[in-house]
C-alpha cells in the first residue's frame, strides 16, 4: 500500500465543482496553504473546481490560502466559526456583496460535528447555543433538567490537511497547535489529502505518537518547507502573484 502522491497538482486533481471541502488549520497554524494554492492553480487553468462549500474555522486572512480561494471566486458557501482576522477584507467584501453564503457555527460545535461525521454519529446534543440565534430551527431536548440543542454531523467530499510527518500508509503527526481541526477533518471526508513536511518510512513514526492512523487518509504529498500564512501576510504576499 502506497498513499504517497507525486505532486500537488495530482493531489488536488479529483476535486470537482460543487464539492464540500474541509480545509484544516486555525488561522494560519496547520493551514495547508500549498494544497489550497494548487487548487487555485487548477481553477485558473481549467475553470474548475467552483461552487465549493468550504469548512474551516476562519474565513482567511490577507490574500493567500483560504482568502485567495475566496478571492478567486471558487467558494459558494463557507461553514466556519470566526470569519474575522487581522485582514479579513476578502471574505468581508464577498459577504457584504452577497457573493458568498455563511453558515456560522460555534467553534466547539463545529469540531464536534466534524468528529461526529467521521465517527458515524448523525446527531448529538450540546448545551452550546441554547437560547441564542444560532439554535434557531434546531430541535431542543431536556436531559437531567437542562436544555440541549440537537446538532447534526458534518461530512465532506474532500479534506485538505496539513501534517508534519506522514508515512505511505497515511499515519500522521502534526506540529504543535497546527493539529487543531486537522485530525478531525481526516476522519470526516471521503477523500483526505494531506501535505506533510516529511514523508517517512512505515515505522518512522512511533506507534504511540501517531495522531491520525492511516485508515483516515487517502493521499499524502510532501511539501518540504511549507509556508506559514502569518509570514506571507507580514510580507504582503498575494496569491497568485500576477493578481497583485
Amino acid at each position: 500500500m502506497d498513499k504517497t502522491l507525486p505532486d500537488l497538482a495530482t493531489a488536488v486533481a479529483g476535486i470537482d465543482d460543487g464539492m464540500t471541502v474541509m480545509i484544516g488549520g486555525f488561522g494560519g497554524s496547520g493551514a495547508p496553504i500549498e494544497l489550497v494554492h494548487a487548487l487555485i492553480d487548477r481553477f485558473l487553468a481549467t475553470g474548475h473546481p467552483k461552487d465549493l462549500t468550504v469548512v474551516n474555522n476562519n474565513a482567511g486572512n490577507g490574500h493567500v490560502g483560504l482568502a485567495a480561494l475566496i478571492e478567486a471566486g471558487m467558494v459558494r458557501k463557507l461553514i466556519c466559526s470566526f470569519p474575522r482576522s487581522a485582514d479579513p477584507v476578502v471574505f468581508t467584501e464577498a459577504y457584504r456583496a452577497g457573493a458568498i453564503e455563511l453558515e456560522l457555527v460555534p467553534q466547539g460545535t463545529l469540531a464536534e460535528r466534524i468528529r461526529a461525521g467521521g465517527a458515524g454519529i448523525p446527531a448529538f446534543y450540546t448545551p452550546t447555543s441554547f437560547g441564542t440565534d444560532l439554535a434557531q430551527g434546531k430541535p431542543v431536548e431536556e436531559f437531567e433538567g437542562r436544555p440541549y440543542v440537537q446538532e447534526r454531523w458534518l461530512k465532506a467530499d474532500v479534506a485538505l490537511v496539513k501534517a508534519h510527518l506522514g508515512d505511505r500508509l497515511g499515519n500522521l503527526t502534526y506540529r504543535m497547535a497546527g493539529r487543531n481541526f486537522n485530525p478531525l477533518m481526516c476522519m470526516a471526508a471521503a477523500q483526505t489529502i494531506v501535505q506533510v513536511s516529511h514523508i517517512v518510512e512505515p515505522g518512522g513514526i512511533d506507534p504511540e505518537a501517531v495522531v491520525t492512523p492511516g485508515i483516515f487518509v487517502q493521499g499524502v504529498v510532501e511539501v518540504a518547507s511549507p509556508a506559514q500564512e502569518e509570514d506571507l501576510n507580514r510580507a504582503g504576499a498575494v496569491y497568485p502573484e500576477a493578481a497583485a
Partner: protein, 221 residues
Amino acid sequence: MKLTPSQMAWRAAQDIADGAYVNLGIGFPEMVAKFQPPGREAIFHTENGILGFGEAPAAGTEDWDLINAGKKAVTLKPGTAFFHHADSFAMVRGGHLDVAILGAYEVAETGDLANWSTGPKGVPAVGGAMDLVHGARQVAVLTDHVTKDGKPKLVQRCSLPLTGVGCVTRIYSSLAVIDVSLGRFVLREKLAELTLEGLQALTGATLHLDGPVADLTVSEL
C-alpha cells in the same frame, strides 16, 4: 465433505483486496489473516485500539499489553498505530473499514445476523459485534453451514436475539459461498461434490441463482 475452519478462512481471505482495512471477529474469523494471498497486504484493525498489527508472537514472548480483541497476543509491524476505544469505534461506525468478518449463530436471508446471545439462559456478551455490523462496507460471516445438531444456520428469519438488521452481505460457510442481496440468499459457489438439492436441504431459506454457480475449491491446508 465440508470445509475446515482453516479452509473457510482461506476462502474468505481470497476476497480481501490489497490494502483493505479489515476487522476479524473473535474465533474462526481471526484465522483469515493467516491466508492472505501473496502480494496482497490487508491492514487489520482490532477493537481494542490497534491498526496494522502483525501475527501472533512465539509462545513465551507475548506482551500482554499487545493483544487483539480476542485477548490473544499479537505483534508490532512497521506502521502500526495505537489509539483509544472511541477512536477505534469511530473507525468502525464511521464507515472506514472495508470488510468485517464475523462468526454467526444464525444468518437470515434478510441479512439479519444473530451472534451474541443464545437466549436467556446464558450470560449475554455482545462486545464489538453490534458496532461492526454497521459501518464496514462489506459485512461477511464465516460459519459452519449447519449447527452441531445438523440444523440450518442460514435461515428465513433469526430465532435468536439479533446483532444487526439487514447487515450481512456475504456468507462463507463450510459448504458454500452465498451473497445476501435484496432479502435473498444468492448462491455463488458450492462444494463440487454437493448437489444444489443437497445444499438446499441443509439451508433454512431458498437459495437463489443469479448466474453460474462456481465450484468452491480450497486447497488441503
